[in-house]
Amino acid sequence: MSDDFITLKKVSKSYTRGGETLTVLDQLDLTITTSDFVALMGPSGSGKTTILNLVGGLDSCDSGSVHVAGSEVSSMSRSKLPSWRSRHVGFVFQSFNLLPVLTALENVMLPLQLTPLSAADRRKQADFALDIVGLADRASHLPSQLSGGQEQRVAIARAIATDPDVIIADEPTGDLDRSSADEVLQILGRLNSELGKTILMVTHDLIAAKQAKRLLELDKGLLVEDQQQEA
């Protein structure tokens, strides 16, 4: 695998809303190396989340190409994308998106259903993921019995349970208080530094952005700033 882990070449994406075409990304070129921790910032509508969706294979671009972990995601058929996502990408959402009817452990075990692991191994791996985020003792709790910070940590455990190459985090601290946000950022930092996970994070929070190794700023679909940050 080359160092260029994520590559977007001449990527354009536009949406049509109410008969009006809105260009979100315009001929964007972007390269992210393995084990990088990238923060994406910019005003609303600048294309941050669209980049996450394209890299995560949740959306497709109008033109250009998107390569992730050696696969050209942009040319993958809709039927192949779910399987690819399950092996390569872990998602962390702003509003946690845990399934409320499942316990923390069951939420973490959910993506493991798609792996060839035995039930015992799935359980072991989910326990390990919960341990990483410091919530092993909350395994049997429903999301409604957890605080926002704990919910997001469970969501992170779910995202890393299948040991994906890249973690895509869309404003992971957006719904959290400062203290919980710091805990979540600390975990993301450890996942990057200790486990070598490539992290692509959208944030409006400058403190969160400072945790990243690289800061990208977008405006109107164009990359306007790209800076490496001190650890």
Binding site: P82, N97, L102
Partner: protein, 405 residues
Amino acid sequence: MRFPLRLALRHLMARKVRNGLTVMAISIAVFLLCFLIAVVQGMEEGVRSASSHRLVTQSAVSLFVDLPTSYQQKIDTIDGVHLTTKFRWFGAYYQDRKNFFAQFAVDHERFLDMYTKDIEIIEAPGGITGPAARAAVQKAFSNDRRAAIIGIGLRDDERFGFQLGDTIPLIPSLYPRVDGRAWEFVIVGVYRPLKARIPETTMYFRSDYLNEAFDNGEALGTHGAGVYYVNTDEDVQIDQVAEDIDALFANGPQRTQTITEAAFASFFVSAIGNLPLFLGTIGGAVLFSIFFSVVNTMMISGRQRLQESGILQALGFRPIVSTMLLIWEGLIISLLGGSIGILLAIATEGGLIRIFAQNIQNYHIGGSLVMLALAISSLLGIVAGLAAGIPFLRSSPTEALRSSG
């Protein structure tokens, strides 16, 4: 396809009230459906079980016009005719008009011989059982002009509770007695039907008891036969025998119409309108309305779960998994409701037979009906789940994730 079935069960448990109400609605609908189908099947069974060697001769004018008693001797002479008996509707009731059951005046010396394969004598005078019971009842039937044989239903129905040896008074509506009193009958035998065609709540008594009362001026009426039941020999063309009987009376004094017992039974089913179609329509309407109820429940569930579909897709599940989840949920709900409805139908079978004994012959919740009800329930759940789950197949992960859930 790997499938988080546990998730389906958790969703069902998370909405106990809504799903519980839907299960109840389905169970009532399936119970009604089982009831209606069993009624229709009972009617059809009656027709199916008719003897293939028996004819019924009635007036060509109307079933309500009596035939002369002299016809019987003439019918007996026709080639292929084995045995005949008169049947005459009596139309009396026991104590109260609500306590109505069918009574027929028959030829006492022929009746039991004609129905050897149709009824089994289960109670006879002197406690005689087995093959000898029939002879014992025949003897008692011949010895007492007031003798009557009743079906087991009249013994077991608590409204009647007739027992062997009882003298029962029946209040006439067609043939009043001059003294204004009730007709009295003595129970000399109890039978159990061996064919679905034979009701278990009918009483057969001697036609000469009736005729003698008319002759003596004790009751108002004339001799006659409502119909003649004709057993044919087994090796004859039954249609030819029917033609021969009708040809014999073509020039009067009353023309006859002779049909098979099956056709005669069909006539009674169709005489009350196309009841199978009517009941089937009601059953269909019940099913249709409950189908929309289940679809509605599943669609509400589906709308609330669009975001979940987006989450599952982000985790790597195909969109069809969310659809399958709803199908599973629909299936579980409908099978649970269907099973309760079937159990209800089985549990109430005996009670319904007692309540509607005169109206629903051969009512039975059989294995094939249970399987049909389960199949209908399953189909209901699958279609409802599919209807609610199809939007998941069309939505993109990003659209689904954006939905409010």
